[in-house]
């Protein structure tokens, strides 16, 4: 019993919060003003507890496994959810169904936790569904906006499609090997055509979730239509979780088929980076812009994964951690502005620095970090990914990745330029930022500045394996 409690600690905590919210909702219900701080405190407690009482082991006949690295990955996701609850406070306070929103978000988080911990294709499939369906409902949360429903529809259709493919892949794999356990599969894989077919189906499902090119088409529309809190959740938490399980599946289960997936990964990494970057160049809406930029970032994650090495794992986890801070800072600023003024166009950001210097600096910091410019943490994230990739890859691959950094700098700088440019007839007026949002933005900013310089963070991740 005790083992059950410590091993499933993260899941149980989230479940407890879910039930608490449910009880509050059905008993009497709290006003948004008092419910939101309560949820924020709960999420903070949840995040802090994630660092204590961790142990390693597996449960339910090897269906569920956890380790200190997995616990750390869950902590990253916890942190991201906590930051989102702070950053999007403006929008959250205004929604009619705050409790339901968090219920959905935490259910999705629970699904992601189970997914990262899954050691069996069945539980993996179930938890992936749990992680996806609530998000589609969340995407629809701007009830009076048509685009929001459109985004949710696209999301649910593409997820249904991808999970169908995933299920097909799983059944083929089961047919070929007779097992669904992650521990038994590697020994039974020999790279026969049927197995490769099954693997490609599985890979496709992952590609859908990570919006790897050519399965990225839903991303921009869903991001644009959804409320910013949901977009942030999708692009940071959801992506991070899938990247973790994707990496561990490749390394652990499909290790015997290394030759197959390595080449696939390299080609798709290049395609993803290029497509994301080239489309981001022309975007006007900040959410679409961030959607394509996040597609490009996934390309870099793939480059890191391709190293098939311990350093690759550390680099990806580290990158996702940095990505949480950088991307959430950018989304946070966008959320504040959109919440106050409804403006989401990059052209509207012109002269932002004049009226809102704090937001201007944070956004600039975030974009520099996403672009990978030193001294921000984003540089170190990319550096480790490229170093990891460089240990195995051909150098043309690294060069292409580096050239993509240049393209990405161009469009990130375009936004920075707009922010710091002062010619605008109707600049965004001075925005009052509530203390909790300000605190979250400062946390993100501090993370962006410090995470890279403090080299022990990376060493800590390295030591977890």
């Amino acid at each position: 019993m005790n083992e059950f409690l410590t091993l499933m600690k993260s899941e149980l905590l989230v479940t407890a919060i879910i039930f608490l919210l449910l009880f509050i909702k059905i008993s009497k219900g709290l006003k948004n003003e008092s419910l939101l701080p309560l949820v924020q405190v709960l999420l903070l407690v949840n995040f802090v507890l994630g660092f204590f009482f961790n142990s390693e082991g597996s449960l339910f006949g090897d269906m569920f496994t956890t380790s200190s690295l997995i616990a750390f990955q869950k902590s990253i996701l916890n942190l991201a959810v906590y930051l989102i609850s702070l950053l999007c406070a403006g929008w959250l306070k205004k929604t009619q169904h705050l409790a339901e929103f968090f219920l959905l978000m935490l259910s999705a988080l629970l699904g992601m936790f189970l997914m990262i911990s899954s050691d069996n294709l069945l539980i993996f499939y179930l938890s992936l569904e749990l992680a996806t369906i609530p998000v589609a409902a969340m995407a629809n949360f701007d009830l009076d906006k048509k685009r929001s429903s459109e985004g949710a529809m696209k999301m649910i259709l593409s997820s249904a499609f991808s999970s169908g493919i995933l299920l097909f892949g799983i059944s083929l794999l089961y047919g070929a090997t007779g097992t669904v356990s992650f521990n038994e599969l590697p020994g039974l894989l020999d790279g026969s055509p049927l197995q490769i077919l099954a693997f490609i189906f599985l890979f496709t499902a992952f590609a859908f979730k990570l919006s790897i090119v050519p399965f990225h088409l839903w991303t921009a529309d869903v991001y644009e239509g959804s409320p910013i809190a949901v977009t942030a959740f999708l692009s940071v938490v959801s992506k991070g979780a899938v990247a973790f399980i994707f990496m561990s599946t490749l390394y652990k289960v499909f290790q015997p088929m290394l030759d197959t997936w390595y080449i696939l990964l390299v080609i798709l990494a290049v395609a993803t980076m290029l497509t994301g970057n080239l489309f981001a160049l022309r975007q006007q809406n900040i959410k679409r812009f961030l959607a394509f930029s996040s597609i490009a970032q996934v390309g870099f994650i793939l480059a890191g994964i391709s190293s098939n090495d311990k350093i690759g794992t550390s680099a990806v986890v580290y990158f996702v951690l940095i990505y949480v801070f950088s991307n959430l800072a950018a989304f946070g600023v966008a959320a504040v502005i959109s919440g106050q003024t409804g403006k989401e166009n990059i052209d509207d950001y012109k002269g932002l620095y004049k009226t809102n210097p704090f937001l201007g600096w944070i956004l600039a910091l975030a974009l520099f970090s996403l672009a990978g410019v030193p001294p921000t943490a984003g540089f170190f994230g990319k550096l480790f990914l490229l170093t990891a990739a460089g240990s195995t890859a051909a150098y043309w691959f690294i060069t292409v990745a580096a050239l993509n950094m240049i393209i990405s700098l161009y469009y990130y700088l375009r936004v920075v330029r707009a922010v710091f440019m002062d010619k605008n007839e109707q600049p965004i007026e001075k925005i009052e930022i509530s203390p909790s949002v300000k605190m979250a933005l400062i946390i993100c900013g501090a993370g962006i500045v410090l995470l890279g310089l403090l080299s022990w963070v990376f060493e800590h991740i390295e030591s977890l394996q």
Partner: protein, 493 residues
């Protein structure tokens, strides 16, 4: 100890400056901070002039083979001194310039200084890259916030150009790191690398493009006149006086000794590019009507000569460039100070609108003429010794005799053309009829006299006694030239 202080002092004082709201206080604080940095630099040059004080190593990113390894070598001494002298001079001479949000301005200037110091002392490739970019970002914001009319476009171009260069360099650095036996980023292991002849060439270009953009060498120079013209003059001084030296330092420390074969192989190409740059930039300078652009182009010509001398790959060139980096910095900052005065007092930078200033502002005329003559390396001024050494090196360049002669002749033309545009500029500003702009001109103020006085003293001091500079750089340039020796490789072929 010394190098760490040189980085930390401006960094920390710079961060503090962000929070000083009062303009006067911020200004004085920045000046004080830069003087303190100068004191540290002088300490390192005189009293604490030994290895224990001049180098420092700490753990940093150990997992991928990097460390916080800094050291002030001979070239570092000169460039740190240049950086340390420049900032007080810049702050004093622009004492009366008004800046909106002055605290941010001075904070960014000091952060830029920290980055530059870091570049000059870094002995680890990753650290070098880190500071290389760190120096760039404050400059970007300085130019885009406090610059001229077309600043946004100019700084955008500037940033993109330099970033393209530096990302390519990052690829090169990562490649070299993967080739070292112990996967280390340290300069020493790069020196011991001995890369195969075939791979050297493409790595060479990855690095060289980064340095060429920074210097800038033709045809990578197009960002430079715009950036110089559109930046606030204080920033232009940093860009042209100090920042271009980052490119030269990169070539000296990180390119020639690391990839000696490719450097020799591509030497002719680079020298040709540089010599085209010299003639081209000088010709444009002659036709320029804007003083800032004129000086910007003259700077391209000077840097071109330094770049040529480096690829001549002999000791006199190496040493000439090292001392010339220092002297060029001093001279060009002097020129910019004068330009700043002219622009602020008379509201124009156009040569065609100026004239007869010598009658109204004799002190300024004297200072200007001295600095301008130093800029064309007249004997007895500081630039002469360096220029002499560099021409000396060109004649004995490691290339065919015909090329050496041709390069020398064309580079020599650069000197003649420099005399043409410099004297022409002096004539148009200070002599001839008074114009409507200059009719009520006043002479320069005390703070500018002070700054110019220091510069003129330095010009004559090192003009008469260049030995001081030569002593500092002597040992290092010999060591580097030895590393560039590829005769054993050639014999093998």
């Amino acid at each position: 100890m010394i190098p760490v202080l040189l980085i930390l002092l401006p960094l920390l004082t710079g961060l503090v400056t962000f929070f000083i709201k009062d303009e006067k206080t911020a200004r004085s604080w920045a000046l004080l901070a830069s003087v303190a940095t100068l004191a540290v630099s002088l300490l390192g040059l005189t009293v604490m002039n030994d290895d224990t004080h001049l180098s420092h190593k700490a753990q940093w990113l150990q997992t991928i083979g990097s460390s916080f390894s800094v050291k002030v070598d001979g070239m570092g001494q000169l460039l740190c001194l240049l950086t340390a002298i420049s900032f007080p001079l810049i702050f004093v001479s622009t004492w009366h310039s008004q800046y909106k949000k002055a605290n941010n301005f001075f904070a960014l200037m000091l952060l830029g200084q920290a980055g530059l110091m870091g570049v000059f002392v870094a002995m680890d490739a990753l650290l070098f890259y880190f500071f290389w970019e760190l120096a760039l970002i404050p400059m970007y914001f300085l130019a885009s916030q406090w610059g001229g009319e077309r600043r946004i476009k100019a700084t955008f171009k500037f940033f993109i150009y330099t970033f393209v260069g530096s990302v390519l360099m990052l690829v090169g650095i990562l490649y070299l790191q993967s080739q070292t036996p112990d996967h280390s980023f340290s300069l020493q292991s790069f020196y011991n690398l001995g890369l195969p002849v075939r791979t050297q060439s493409w790595v060479f270009w990855l690095f060289f493009v980064a340095f060429a953009v920074k210097m800038p060498v033709w045809p990578f120079h197009t960002w430079q006149p715009d950036a110089y013209e559109q930046s606030p003059t204080a920033t232009t001084m940093v860009l042209s006086g100090i920042m271009v030296k980052m490119g030269l330092l990169g070539v000296i420390r990180w390119l020639l000794p690391v990839l000696p074969f490719a450097s020799w192989q591509n030497g002719d190409t680079v020298m040709t590019m540089a010599v085209i740059g010299i003639v081209y930039a000088s010709l444009i300078a002659i036709r320029s009507d804007d003083i800032k652009r004129l000086i910007a182009y003259s700077s391209i010509a000077h840097i071109g000569l330094m770049c040529m001398a480096l690829f001549a790959e002999n000791k006199s060139g190496m040493q000439g460039v090292m001392i010339q980096m220092f002297n060029h910095g001093i001279n060009i900052i002097g020129l910019w100070i004068m330009v700043e005065v002219i622009e602020r007092q008379y509201g124009t930078r156009k040569l065609s609108e100026l004239g007869g200033l010598a009658q109204k502002a004799p002190v300024m005329a004297i200072f200007f003429v001295i600095v301008a003559l130093a800029n064309i390396a007249l004997p007895l001024t500081n630039a002469f010794a360096g220029e002499f050494l560099m021409f000396n090196s060109l004649l004995s360049a490691k290339t065919s005799y015909l090329y050496a002669i041709l390069f020398t002749v064309f580079a020599g033309m650069g000197i003649i053309l420099a005399a043409v545009y410099t004297l022409n500029m002096i004539r148009k500003i200070f002599f001839g009829e008074l114009t409507t702009v200059t009719a009520n001109a006043q002479d320069i103020k005390l703070n500018e006299k002070l700054a110019m006085g220091v510069i003129v003293i330095l010009i004559f001091w090192f003009g008469v006694y260049p030995q001081g500079l030569l002593n500092i750089t002597d040992e290092l340039s010999q060591v580097l030239v030895n590393k560039m020796d590829i005769s054993h490789l050639l014999r093998k072929q």
